[in-house]
Symmetry: C2
Subunit: 111 residues, 2 copies
DNA sequence: CGAGTAATTGCGTAGTTTGCTAACTATGCA
DNA sequence: TGCATAGTTAGCAAACTACGCAATTACTCG
């Protein structure tokens, strides 16, 4: 079983349904049923996806009567973003050169 | 089986060994054996991790005699970064407010 | 209490991932 | 040709993942 936060975060993001849930939650809290609605999937399945997100710390579930309003939690995404930052710099410095290479090669071998 | 690029990218990132390989490659190309050295794992296992990274498009393997010099490939990480960007904005605008909420709640319910 | 809504849990199935060892391919060099 | 190095493939077991259906919990309201 994976223990470190970063691995759990990325694993949680490695699913289209879960990413869709997160982007929905970025617009505000929602209940499980609301989150499930757009997906061609049973409620239990969505509930489990939510549990993965919750375990990863990406979602926090509240309790209001029989509803569990879900909220987006920033920390793990911030951490993932921080992990990516050095690569962003890396690309920023190399991308112009890459563009140059692509331009040169397209001159020799036009698309 | 997952098909979309983003899912494959995040799945590839969801492993400490693979992330370590990427950060090593950010400093320049390396052979499979060189990449395997720091890890308490057999060479075949590392080779498989590399295949995951290659399938995700994060690593490109060359061919020089009996060596396969591996290079970091930017595109999938750029795409992952682009997926994250809106959340980055989201947090930037909400983090101060979140801090405020946390401060208020700690006044009512001190830790 | 009983009916209805919201959500989770149990269980079975199918497929994937990860690690190992052993065997194999490919290349270089004497 | 024969040996050493670099790396992959095959085969296996254990663990994990994703899904559906059925049952269960938790709560509201009449």
């Amino acid at each position: 079983m994976r223990v470190d936060t970063l691995s759990r975060t990325f694993a949680a993001l490695a699913d289209p349904t879960r990413r869709a849930i997160l982007s929905r939650l970025a617009q505000g809290p929602a209940t499980v049923t609301e989150l499930a609605a757009p997906h061609a999937m049973t409620l239990p399945s969505v509930s489990r996806h939510l549990r993965v997100l919750e375990t990863a710390g990406l979602v926090v579930k509240g309790r209001e009567a029989q509803w569990r309003p879900c909220t987006l939690a920033p920390e793990p995404l911030v951490e993932a973003d921080e992990w990516m930052a050095p690569y962003r710099d890396f690309f920023a410095s190399r991308l112009p050169r890459l563009a140059e290479v692509l331009r040169d090669s397209s001159e020799r071998n036009p698309t």
